[in-house]
Assembly symmetry: C2
Homo-oligomer: 129 residues x 2
Amino acid sequence: MNGAIKALKFDSAGLIPAIVQDAATGEVLMTAYMNAESLQKTIETRKTHFWSRSRKKLWMKGETSGHVQKVKGIRADCDRDTLLVKVEQAGGACHLGYRSCFSWQLEGEAWVERGEKLFDPEKVYKKAP
Amino acid sequence: MNGAIKALKFDSAGLIPAIVQDAATGEVLMTAYMNAESLQKTIETRKTHFWSRSRKKLWMKGETSGHVQKVKGIRADCDRDTLLVKVEQAGGACHLGYRSCFSWQLEGEAWVERGEKLFDPEKVYKKAP
């Protein structure tokens, strides 16, 4: 395992939050959790891998949708308890079809859709019959 | 209280993580936690307020350092459990003196300092005698 992983502060469940940012535009695309194994896989393959808390399994971003994230750089914060992963995003990062998960802007007292919708999630995540 | 706050998913401690991003450059500056009250204060004053888990109190970014963050926009993600706050940052966001907390880049097996150091924390956070 990469020695830099040992310097990180994982939480009591062995997880660390990762912010994913478009390396070219600076747009924040999504956040997800990594454990040591998924970070090691991310470093080795240069494609983002995360830990799903609901499904309790390692997953690669884009494994179903094809919307893979090529890793261009990885940063840690001063407390070593949050990661910032800079990527080249294929397609959209958000499972609702938007380029970014942060497509909801506070306007007055409402969260208003202000994102770029790139795909129809029903088509992309459609399961084989 | 702003009605949009009620639509958010706070964790069991009543907190939601907030990513703070430079509105002009897209640089991710820091992350911290907000509770409903600190988000309400952030919306009202247009200056970021957070909840300190260690000190168990509300704080305004820059209250000691003067490095205040003027809020230019607030976004929520698709799950409504993470915020993205776009700001105009005075001085540096990191308590170690860097512009961004994410000043540590993975190079080989080490986290290497790749941040812009703007101030000497010993001077800025020096307490009155």
